[in-house]
Symmetry: C2
Subunit: 98 residues, 2 copies
């Protein structure tokens, strides 16, 4: 299992629209091969910051099956204009403590 | 439920010792009031980077019950010398998508 992680910083004042569009985008990513789960939560210390966690069966389900799909173009169009700066996306695999 | 999140960057070459000490530190935090769960995973793109996720029942279980405890002094002594830079710790609560 791979955990995709990104801290999402959005432009001020766009929280409501961003959250509504993320709920729409959820159906797009959930249909991709190897998708396991998604969660998006809002930061207590900074209301314009969110944490995105996506579980994938394999790294390539994210980097190839999703990012090279036509569905990713829809995802981008819905969400990418909210971000400032554009987020760094990283992946975690080996569990040290749980 | 509150999710505590930190990206942990450790000094190069100390992975094995850091991971062993984090396994010891797990018992310290798990005994604190309001602790729910912990996970630490290693980053695929950067082997010196880890993701820490801790679930707490309430924010104060972390900020007061843990950080103002004598157990926190043990935690610090075990772990803080590995970090470079010292991590930013943030908390997330409201779930937008799940």
């Amino acid at each position: 299992m791979i955990l995709e992680v990104a801290i999402l910083n959005i432009k001020a004042g766009q929280n409501e629209a961003f959250e509504a569009d993320f709920r729409k985008a959820q159906a797009i990513i959930a249909a991709i091969k190897g998708f396991v789960s998604i969660s998006v939560r809002q930061c207590i210390e900074n209301e314009n910051q969110y944490l995105l966690l996506v579980e994938w069966e394999r790294l390539e389900n994210h980097t190839i099956d999703f990012r090279q799909s036509s569905e990713y173009q829809e995802w981008k169009a819905l969400l990418h204009h909210y971000y400032d700066p554009f987020p760094v996306v990283e992946h975690y695999d080996r569990i040290i403590v749980e």
